[in-house]
Symmetry: C2
Subunit: 143 residues, 2 copies
Amino acid sequence: MPHEVEREALSRYLEDHKLKQTKQREAILDVFLEVTGHISGDELFRRVRERHPHIGFTTVYRTMKIFCEAGLAIERTFEDGLTRYEIPHEHHDHLVCVRCGRIVEFECSMIESAQDRIADEYGFRLLRHRHELYGHCTDCQGR
Amino acid sequence: MPHEVEREALSRYLEDHKLKQTKQREAILDVFLEVTGHISGDELFRRVRERHPHIGFTTVYRTMKIFCEAGLAIERTFEDGLTRYEIPHEHHDHLVCVRCGRIVEFECSMIESAQDRIADEYGFRLLRHRHELYGHCTDCQGR
DNA sequence: ATAGATGCAAATGTTTTGCAGGAAA
DNA sequence: TTTCCTGCAAAACATTTGCATCTAT
């Protein structure tokens, strides 16, 4: 049984919130968990559709909102304004290639602590941040 | 004559690009230059309209694109997805209060050089970045 | 005279909502 | 059998485009 842990996490969340266990939600979870990287709502919908032609895009969007609330997905928005989803793992920020769209993750504890100092300095209570570096990746520099 | 320098910069840009000097472009420039901070297309349109009821929002959007190309404005997008414009000045990033919408600018050379190192490490040629800190500002922490 | 600008209306593209029928508890 | 879901169509939303008309050069 693939994605056992996540399926159970979803079950628990749905039960706790008096929501229903449906075929669509399971199907979307499976497709989403097979994704490596950052997928847009539209692209995810197309992949779901390949295997489950009856599922509508409305359901995909609504389901991803639930997954985000359940901690099974994280919503991100980059320069193009599309909503993308990723599987949660350690905190990180992103490098984005503006030519091929490649997204690479990075983590820098020095930047993290600098952010805390800055927020402190301006009297802000920090909730979250967005830090994206845009450029050309190795493969795209020749062009 | 207010905004003399910017008016001339605009004139020069329009001439160089065989574009036309129009009342609308001057009017929008004046309203924009009076803005302190970061203004959305919609809000800018409303302020332009107060003084120039005949100017359409299409013209405001089109004109701001020209101003950006002419280096008279910079386009920014924060969490709410709206396009905002600011008057160019030294490089900086932003703290955004998610309750009142206040936007504060900050600059941190340590973060800047860390970014360069990271881009380097991943083989990216860095073009630009976006760094935003979201939280509650001093005034909004009680609520 | 002519290239370019304007303003309205309509289109765009992604995401959300209304609603009637359908499925899970 | 009630509450929640689904899928379609339509709406929402900020921004862009088409086009006939107007204006700066």
